[in-house]
Amino acid sequence: MTEEAPALEIRDVSHWFGDFRVLNHIDLRIEAGQIVALVGPSGCGKSTLLKAILGTHPPREGEVLVGGEPVRGPNRNVGIVYQNYSLFDFLTAEKNVAFGLKLDQSSLPFRIFQYPRWRKLRAEQMRMAREYLRRVHLAEACGKYPHELSGGMRQRVAIAQALILKPKIVLLDEPFGALDEATRESLQLMLLHFYQENLQAIQRGEVPEYTILIVTHELNEAIYVANRVVGLSRYHDQAEKGAMIVYDRPCPIFSPDDPRDVAQFIEQREELRRAVFDPNYIKHHQKYVTFWKELADQESSVGNPAIDNAN
């Protein structure tokens, strides 16, 4: 699988607003099947980076490649789930999920002039949409409008909506930020399930389906749901030039059935807090950027099947 282009490749991206430098020479590569958490102090440029990946606000310098192709505006290869505004108000849950299929698989003239064929295709799409709603445990909410759903249900629908097109990568910008603790936890479990499905796909020799970049301000959440944590921050030796990636390390993998053992990641959480969030702890910006190296070391010693494809 080494010949596959990486799901996402950010090459030397910089961005600034006026003379306020936000992003400074960002490099990041994410392989298919990785679930990556992006953390950083408020205002460090996480959303700006996501917008660059999405293509709505291209970076001033550098290049973003998705699936090996440069991004030229938002398109079906990158999915997004926002914190708010995540669903179309005028569509029911299942139509929201099927919306991508409709737009991607048919055109306006086709839907008008070949109406019978469109009906048939549509029935197929609605079936698939219901299947995806089942995957996010919302089978019963199919016919409801977004305003009839709770915040957590809406985010589930939004995730199904983004996943159904099987984009190269799905971006989640603080998707659970507005949710209560219990809802949050059940959504985290959902992400863990996706990761397990990825592992199974890899074992079968297939390309894993879920590649996710999730922005969160909850460090526990980052370490719990992701298999890799990336920290973006301007607290480093070149602070005046903008935020850089100052942390990039693997983190423990939980299966959905494991107890949520906070003690297990307390050490990494403190390391992360210091490296990314502590303005007084100034270090060389690459001190904690060791993900690919650690992965290679791990593979040469044991050969971890979990992230085997990622070299």
Binding site: P74, F88, D89, L91, G100, S107, L108
Partner: protein
């Protein structure tokens, strides 16, 4: 108690009482007027209205050239003018309003003229339409259509700008939409309830312009008949016409609300 809910039965009883009170006030004034002048037709009683109704519904013309009754002629004339004017105005303002909301170039091009024209009273523009179109159907369509167009286009433009989140547009692109699909499947769907509401709000003004024009220039239609009959102090006919205007207004209003609820169940009330 402010905003304190009252029982349903009380609500409807009070509503009925309000209507009854209005009728009672009219009846009282009518009786008094008849007492002063037994042949008066300014505030006619029930008998007067029965005569008036017969007058407007009886077929006109003669054996060889029969003509429909006043009422059916006027209903056909007025509501046909209204329907055409309203449709043209609505279609044009949706097309231009959406274009202005979606493309800054269109906004730049149209907004100065539209903002200016919106400030000219449409009834004053009647002078222009009369010269350009004569007193034919086209004049009424232009009057009603342009009369509502300029303000309608402003509210549709606002709806596109405010109701359609930029995030929604970006999201549609990430789901594989083309530019045209964004306009049809996202923008249009999102503003549809606002468009229906805008039509509803503009029904009143449209009727004002139309009746005024009919009073001045028409030879058939509600405005024409009301003016003719009020000059002859046939108020029994005039009041029936006014009541019909009121009732059809309520009816259109109700239909548009039903239409909105049917097309946009997500919009709420």
């Amino acid at each position: 108690m402010i905003r304190h809910p009252i029982p349903k039965w009380l609500f409807y009883t009070l509503a009925a009482a309000g209507v009854a009170a209005a009728v009672a006030v009219y009846a009282g004034l009518s009786v008094r007027q008849t007492w002063i002048n037994p042949t008066q037709n300014i505030l006619p009683g029930i008998k007067g209205f029965v005569v008036g109704w017969e007058e407007i519904t009886k077929p006109r013309g003669n054996e060889r050239r029969p003509k429909p009754s006043w009422l059916s002629t006027d209903v056909r004339a007025t509501y046909w003018r209204l329907l055409l004017g309203l449709s043209c105005g609505t279609i044009a303002s949706v097309l231009i309003g959406v274009a202005m909301g979606a493309y800054e170039a269109a906004e730049a091009f149209f907004s100065p003229v539209i903002n200016f024209m919106a400030k000219i009273p449409p009834t004053a523009m009647l002078a222009v339409y009369m010269v350009v179109f004569g007193t034919k159907l086209e004049m009424y369509i232009a009057l009603v259509g342009f009369g509502i167009f300029f303000t309608m286009v402003q509210s549709i433009f606002q709806a596109v700008k405010k109701d359609v989140a930029a995030d929604h547009i970006d999201k549609a692109y990430t789901l594989g939409a083309s530019e045209c699909e964004v306009l049809v499947e996202v923008v249009w769907q999102q503003i549809l309830p606002r468009v229906i509401e805008t039509v509803r709000v503009h029904l009143g003004p449209a009727m004002v312009f139309l009746i005024a024009a009919e009073m001045l220039f028409a030879s058939e239609g509600f405005g024409y008949t009301i003016r003719q009959q009020s000059r002859l102090i046939n108020m029994n006919v005039v009041y029936i016409y006014l009541a019909i205007l009121g009732l059809t207004g309520l009816c259109f209003d109700w239909l548009l609300i039903r239409l909105r609820r049917w097309l946009c169940p997500w919009f709420g009330d």
